[in-house]
Symmetry: C2
Subunit: 501 residues, 2 copies
């Protein structure tokens, strides 16, 4: 009989080689978004498809299954090893539940619906998208049945993004979040509104780039283990914890878009750079969940990156890059401008309060789509109605309405909630950091972020997928995830900014 | 029995998937040379190794062998299909002749010798490199025996770079080239020497970059199917004929280095962009040989790129980028400067006459190494002696002597000759172009390169590996490769420049 050590070695070698192929495919995707010449896209698509197929073939192989089953029966594994094996087996078995013919069918349907979405959006016509989307919804409902049965299909789909997350939990969280934010938003809207014109001055491209790079450096992004480039849509991607790449985009009339995108992606990247390199290719080297990933981007983007102390430390740097634009703007006015609250149509441009309404209504809609209580053709009306109800805005067209997000066209049902859940985690982590170190924001005010880094390196980064999001939160903050920390954070911050009595 | 069409389809699908993996690995290598952050190199090495192993495994698989053998027996294949199959079978069988244990041993020896070379070069001590290189030489001798028997081991190794090239041919070519160039060099040295100080003025980096990009555009590089980036050593790499990438480097004291590197790599790239996309992954979609590849870079770099007509068309552009540096320099003085002949120590910096001596003496040395008549430990003395004999220069140290090239440390024995052979092909093609179109250089003088492009698109690009280099040359020029065209070209050009009576 093979020794456990040697068997574990077989397992980790196999997993690392699968990771090599997946990360190679990720490099090809990164290149596609950043540097690929136009005519290269056809063969590039083929190259990515071949690598994806190889990785899939290896991860679903009989030989890996044998190793996983044999290892699961061994008692000599250390706790980390045992956790790796059990998570890999979980992934393996989940994969096996989906018949290859179904996977192919879904992939083809998604491909069709993605291209239909692009065209529908271009010509602002939802009907072009409706049928392909219907096919995807139907297949996602089938997928849920393959994976978890008929009891709670939408929860089953959410598991793909955050293992353990379910409708009951999210309903409860959003149930306490929504009235609190509705009340706060109403109070804000009764006050004099913030003037944010200082954010829409012309700011030179090259200077913006330098500012973004400097900001990444200041928040601790390690350029020895990563880089930043330009792409149409900002994203973070990694090819190991030692090579984590972010991208940004630059609009000369909207430097804030660039800057907070750097901080947001930088937060994702700090997490990836902090994951244990020794677990390369294994579950404990991977991020915990999309919710936790999003908590890291939002903690940096909002809790820290839109705080007054942070800008006490960094405003002079900004004014140094753009003296003509900012030497006459006060820190206070700037702080208000970057925290202006205003109901709007586009999720990705929303402030940190109204953002959650965008998410909550998408969550409601997709839950109903998967549960079968909403038909695809009725999405535009339901969208219009919920935007009126949640945000008090009228949706003038589909482009600025239900065609704005790519997610559904990709079949990503169950994803949206993790955006808001991420903010809730971020606020809860932020509170825990301050509880641990009461003067942490005094340090931030001096440009010293080590208190934040220290806490994250202790409580979040080293665990990979060892814990579920919920367990990680319990261990890191001493309590289960709840909306109160975010509500408290938001209430305190915006009561002060809007001078609410 | 499976139909031939369906079998051929299996073959091309298998080959295309292998190409997908190889090109993916090439993307990872390109990224490694251009954008990889420092800490990323460890896992990147692992990722490339895994892809290399997958491609090798698939290309040596029993299933591919069965398809190839079965297809070779079918008579219904068209000539192109038959040629693809026979070349793939040739590659397959060559691969099979090398035992896996031997391949591993060679790869480890090369890895050691490459690192030893870096260190030996750094501290200028050949003895650090001698032993690892000896091991590589010994293994390359064994490889030659595996591949072709004991009769002519060095010719066998040359086959790797140019199928059909052999010692007899190269000896004959160099035998006529060397005395002619020796005579010409002597005549040049008796004349007043060229002043090339205009090439060593300070030229701003950003302007150099723009100049290089403009030059690539002017020679016809398609930026929709390729791009240029910066790397330590310039190279050309492709991931399909639709995505061909070149790199350059910039030294502010030596803009000529940047500019002719752009033209040189651009020539390689034009060839790759011209290969038939429909043959992606198949031999007919690949370059003919390293000699022919080099003919393409040298034709553009030297025959065209250092010609007076070319600079009649482009000198004002150069002076536009660098007015302070070139407005007082005459076209004639510039033309002389870029063609200055002077024996020197470093191959890659040599002019187009003395370059061949650098190559010929390396060819002599490595032939002797592989045939066993020269010991590795005696390389430095032999190097010193040949540099005196061929070029009349003293080699002051190993760094500027036998440690200057990476090739031997990589086990690339049989490669060097293709550099000179490439120049001979280039001159012969140049002559054929002019024979076909007597006014082609009058067009070049007007900035019109279509005559050159047209000829290359007709006679070189579309064939891939269909013909051997020798056959291609015969078909394109009507005669076998010979040194006379180069000798004639060089004699005419330098007699004029140096005003030799």
């Amino acid at each position: 009989m093979k020794s456990t050590a040697s068997l574990y070695n077989d397992y980790s070698t196999a997993m690392q080689q699968i990771a090599d192929v997946k990360y190679a495919s990720a490099v090809l995707q990164w290149d596609q978004e950043t540097y690929l010449p136009a005519q290269g896209s056809h063969f590039r698509g083929q190259q990515i498809a071949t690598l994806t197929a190889i990785a899939h073939e290896r991860f679903t192989s009989k030989s890996l299954e044998d190793i996983l089953l044999e290892l699961s029966a061994r008692s000599e594994l250390g706790p980390e090893q045992a956790r790796n094996v059990s998570l890999s087996l979980y992934d393996f078995e989940k994969n096996k539940k989906l018949p290859p013919a179904f996977v192919r069918q879904l992939s083809e349907a998604v491909n069709k619906s993605f291209h239909a979405w692009i065209e529908a959006r271009r010509v602002n016509d939802f009907t072009l998208f409706a049928q392909p989307l219907e096919a995807v919804v139907e297949l996602k409902r089938q997928e849920a049945v393959f994976l978890g049965g008929t009891a709670d299909p939408y929860s089953t789909l959410m598991n793909d993004y955050d293992r353990g997350l379910n409708v009951a939990t999210v309903d409860a969280l959003f149930g306490s979040l929504r009235p609190a934010l509705t009340g706060l938003l109403q109070q804000i809207q009764e006050r004099p509104q913030v003037d944010d014109r200082c954010l829409h001055q012309h700011c030179n491209k090259d200077q913006q780039w330098k500012l973004g790079m400097e900001m990444l450096r200041r928040i601790g992004f390690n350029f020895e283990a990563g880089r930043q480039d330009i792409s149409e849509h900002p994203f973070t991607i990694n090819f190991s914890s030692q090579d984590v790449r972010v991208t940004t985009r630059i609009d000369e009339q909207d430097f804030a878009n660039m800057l907070w995108s750097c901080i947001h992606e930088g937060g994702h990247a700090l997490y990836e750079q902090g994951l244990p390199a020794a677990q390369y290719g294994l579950p404990l080297g991977e991020y915990c969940s999309l919710s936790i990933h999003e908590s890291q981007s939002r903690l940096w983007e909002n809790n820290i990156g839109r705080s007054l102390p942070f800008w006490e430390a960094n405003f002079s740097m900004l004014a140094g890059y753009f003296p003509a634009q900012f030497s006459a703007v006060s820190l206070r006015a700037f702080y208000h401008a970057i925290n202006k609250v205003q109901p709007s149509l586009i999720r990705t441009e929303a402030d940190e309060i109204t953002y959650h309404f965008h998410v909550m209504l998408r969550y409601e809609l997709e839950k109903q789509l998967i549960e079968g209580s909403l038909q695809v053709k009725d999405i535009p009306d339901a969208w219009q109605q919920l935007y009126r109800q949640y945000l008090g805005v009228d949706v003038p067209d589909h482009k600025q309405g239900c065609l704005q997000d790519v997610h559904w066209s990709h079949g990503s049902f169950g994803y949206f909630a993790t955006y808001s859940i991420g903010s809730l985690y971020a606020a809860q982590f932020d509170a825990a950091i301050q509880l641990k170190n009461a003067s942490v924001y005094d340090e931030v005010r001096m440009g010293n972020l080590s208190g934040v880094h220290h806490w994250l390196r202790q409580h979040i980064y080293p665990f990979g997928r060892y814990h579920s999001s919920g367990e990680l939160c319990n261990l890191a903050t001493g309590e289960p995830l709840n909306a109160q920390h975010f509500v408290q954070y938001a209430t305190q911050k915006y009561t002060e900014i809007y001078d609410i009595k």
